[in-house]
Amino acid sequence: MKSTSENFIRRLQKQKEDALEFIIDTYLPLIKGITHKVLSPLGNEGLVDECVNDIFLSIWDNADKFRGDPTDFRKWICAIAKYKSIDYYRKATKRMEVSSEYMDMNTEMSVEEELIQAEDKTELITLINQLEPLDRDIFLMKFFLGYKTADISRKTGLSITAIDNRVFRGKKKLLKEASNLNAGGYAL
């Protein structure tokens, strides 16, 4: 049996490899476009390819979490692509900045640092779960998808001031929640 535009989501969730091929055939131009746009300023085509592969792997690994129709699927993988490319961009620029400042030091992140970073991200996700839906979306766009406030304003129809207010209040709430969660606290 082959994957078609009707059944590919179900087949993907059943981990059928032909569904993976189908989404690569169908969505590679889109995914590559998004990734390229974010990462091309770094001038590293290899990184774009690596990120694109990583995006499709994540789609494969997390397919069972997806709910919706093909239109929602398209939105979902666009969001994943954006999120992954921003993540790659941040990691890459971090590395670049460090390496230019301390030329002769070991520029690789230590295992500890990497762990802390990964932990921060899951903690942040835990915290975002506590927010009300609209604030949740704003936080995702702002911190995971790298949207500018003006873009968020266009997407949500809220004014820039309203968004800034919501981000401010959200941060405060998160800070409170964070200190409740673990005594160490968490600062954005």
């Binding site: 131009p29 590559k32 998004i34 979490k65 997806f66 979902w76 666009c78 994943i80 996700i125 995702l140």
Partner: protein, 369 residues
Amino acid sequence: MKEKDIYQLLNELDIEENRAEEMEVSEFDKAKVKKEVKMSLRKKRKRPSWKMKVAAAVVIGGLSVSALGIAFPAYAGNVPVIGDIFRFLDNGRTGIYDNYQEYSSTVNMAKESNGVKITINDAIYDGKTVLLTYSIESEQDLGDQPRIGGYLDIKETSGGSGSQHISKVGENQYVGLITGSRLDEKDVDSVNVKWKVGSISIDGTEEKVKGNWNFSLSLQASDNEVQFVDQGIEQNGVNVTIDKITVTPMSFIVYYDQLVSKEVLDKWHGIDVEITIKDDLGNYYAGDGNGGFGQENYMSWSKTFKKLDPDATKLIITPSVTLVEYTSENHGGVEITADGETKTIAIPTKEGKGREEFEMDDIVVDLVK
């Protein structure tokens, strides 16, 4: 409420990526991403047992076996002494199977039906291909090259290919080798194999001995080490990539992909890529193709070669490409309609005429020790 992870959160986020600019992507790019993503999937699944340390062993399912009435005395000994059927059937022509005997497991499973007894002597599974050697003792003459009706059925695979050799060794006595390869590229440590023989056609006649010779066994893969290679070459619109090499004590298997550009596909009907291998010490390796799978422009093949020289550090792989025009002489198909009428399927006309061959530059692979 259960906590949501980032993928679920992104799923709920309703934003239209309307400014998304699609990028132009070629078929090559798509195939490359597919291959790399699948390779990561395989690596990920593989990690817990990177090296399979399981020695070849044959497990015989007690219950089902006794129900089928299979006996295991050392019948094999009755057939003239053929110590190494693998080597015997190869006649020293290629040497591919020279080292199979010592790494295979002795099975000695026999099944008798209608005056013909088939005994499986040895079995081996190299991670890709299952090989069984067998001997036949018959009350009647089966001719020089009887044809065994039945193929090796490897359970839980998406497809397979296989081959058979048989040879007369004495009066009404034969030895043979049957192989079956899995076509999927999953790394599977053990396989369940069924060999159902329903008839034996007597060579040179229309006669058949009908019977029931059914065997089922499960085999562990012999020690093997996988080296991911991902080195390729592109020439004249044909791209050949060596995907991985699996080294077993008695052989090595090369997995390679062939990717053909649209221009070449439009021009030729058939595009075949063969590989020949030598090493840095000057040894040439004989090989046997295991078949392949894929689509018109993108095929994955594998080929099994004889035992790797342990001192070799490099493999020099030379792909050669044959471009063929299908004519009514070398290719054909018929369509049978519901009414039972047949009509010939026309071969579409393509620009390429006759046959062209070219050899590609060598792909040199450093062997990881």
